[in-house]
Symmetry: C2
Subunit: 352 residues, 2 copies
């Protein structure tokens, strides 16, 4: 038993005391205490109140005993903070008042000054770092990757087809590169502020990168992601890169500079390891399985643990965010199962 965080050890490819587990969107609408603390205001309002944001970050740590906390925030916080004009509409997602359509819109994206623009985020991180045990539950900071943030700015809201953002990148690759460069700088400033305030790891959410073809990903999304990752290398905290539907681009994502690659439920982790090579993996229980009850979800979790054993490090997680209708008791049962059985399942799998 070392005095090292199991989560951070697994991110570094070192041997953790037990298989670490946390859940994307573990703080959120599935928790009754979250709904009570949040009240009826918008999510950006809640993020703007450090006491509330810290409280909802801590709720899943208390309830589940997960191995990491993730800052309660949103990928559009930096662009909202510099006044682009974007809000998170309940039941819909980020919506931009005036979408990004032309070069003139670049002027609406000035650099982030964390102390001025997001003092509440820095304050939230400081509260959390005081409250959390850095060994049992390090804090993960995060930002959106340029492509995914740009998709909201250009589409004006959530999209199924990403037709506007794809048209822009193909029609005006220079403008697209400039937009991604600005958004990379925003992500860098946003995450750096979180890590300097005490966050011990970072995740870059390129949630919708899987909507791109492999060729488009390499040309239009990977370069700015690489910039973020290489710049943040100096922070010396583990860097996780995640997206959904990324089966065809996993090998590209592995070249981004990320230490850990997050995988959705579509790609079994043993298959993902073959594509990714020498990187620890994070994932990948289907969040929808949690709605089938603890027994079925538990059996699927065992399968995830078995397949994850082949990676040079495995952080158990869902393949995407917790669904709002999830029963918290099911997530609690999964945490207990991963802690109790994770190492044994991996050992058995590797000796088989």
């Amino acid at each position: 038993m070392t005095n090292q965080s199991p989560f951070l050890a697994a991110c570094r490819g070192e041997e953790p005391a037990h298989t670490p587990v946390w859940f994307m969107r573990q703080a959120g609408r599935s928790l009754p205490e979250y709904r009570a603390a949040r009240g009826t205001g918008s999510i950006l309002e809640a993020i703007g109140q450090p006491e509330i944001a810290a409280e909802v970050t801590l709720q899943p740590v208390r309830r589940y005993g997960v191995d990491a906390a993730i800052l309660f925030s949103d990928i559009v916080v930096p662009v909202a903070a510099i006044g682009f004009g974007i809000d998170v509409v309940p039941g819909r997602g980020p919506v931009a008042e005036q979408p990004f359509t032309s070069r003139a819109d670049l002027e609406r994206l000035r650099p982030l000054e964390p102390e001025v623009d997001i003092p509440h985020v820095i304050e939230t991180v400081k509260i959390l770092v005081n409250e959390l045990d850095p060994v049992s539950t390090p804090l993960i900071g995060f930002a959106g990757a340029p492509f995914t943030v740009a998709s909201y700015l250009v589409e004006g809201g959530p999209s199924r087809t990403f037709s506007k953002v794809k048209a822009l990148m193909h029609r005006d690759p220079e403008l697209w590169a400039d937009l991604c460069d600005v958004l990379a700088d925003l992500a860098i400033s946003f995450i750096t502020a979180q890590v300097e305030a005490g966050a011990q790891a970072l995740q870059l959410f390129d949630s919708w990168a899987g909507a791109l073809s492999p060729h488009e990903y390499e040309r239009f999304a990977l370069p700015s992601t690489k910039k973020v990752m290489s710049t943040l290398e100096g922070l010396r905290v583990p860097r996780i890169l995640f997206g959904v539907g990324t089966g065809e681009i996993l090998s590209s994502m592995a070249t981004s500079g990320a230490d850990v690659v997050g995988v959705d439920w579509r790609v079994p982790l043993d298959v993902a390891t073959k594509r990714i090579g020498d990187h620890p993996l994070q994932g990948n229980l289907d969040p929808a399985i949690c709605l089938a009850g603890a027994e079925i979800a538990g059996n699927e979790a065992r399968d995830v643990l078995r397949r994850g054993a082949h990676a040079p490090g495995h952080i158990f997680n869902l393949g995407h965010g917790v669904l709002p209708e999830t029963d918290p008791d099911v997530l609690k049962a999964i945490v207990d199962l991963v802690h109790a059985e994770g190492r044994d399942i991996a050992t058995r799998e590797l000796s088989a």
Copy 2:
């Protein structure tokens, strides 16, 4: 030059006179003549009027010179026709008044009697077979695969997470199997009626199968798809199976009994061929690329033709349906390009 349909030849792995091309949703909102013919009624109303349904089926044939027509219809037509209570809501998709939740709901799904329940569909096919040249533009009939149709019945409408349908299949695999069996029989009856009336090929749309993990696909979707495919083998027309986001399940789809596998834009066709083996492929230009204009879309189409050359047959198509905001002139330019350059690009690629 043979007197054989290029589309049917490619489906059979034979040498076509030119590379065939058609577009999923080629009849639809992107065409001004479609909007004029359809008027303001619901899509199910338009499908119920043979003269209108035949007219909108023919519109893209006239305008684009595609190598196949596809019946103007919808995957929920059979369940709507037997009175399940489902409509297609504009801008949203199929919505069920009372979703499928329990075994008692199986009684709401009686067998289809085509002559009684869908005489208008049979009539539409007969009009079309009279109008269309069977060599230049064979008619494709279609149905929804059991999983994808079931997803609408169980979720009650379009879903991003498929959480209800996944919970049902895991919690009650017997009920799920019974539901899929009933839906397989509906697909079989629906397609058989179309082929007996003159359709010369069939496509089974398992559009959302890519939301399943490979294990879930094998266990919960493939068996009923196999039943449909094997039963329809006796019709002796080419059988195409299509879904989006199917990278991880392509090899399973190839075992379904389908002759041709449709591929979305995420998997380059040369990669798809490695997973699928000895089947002709259909696809896979990203529909969003068409919004970037004819020149950019044309260059991407050439890349699709190059990669498709490695399959034992290639039917050019989009990777999903035509987007409503598509400029028809771009699609026309793509058809001309595929016809003019397709064979040469494939020949060059294979001799390289």
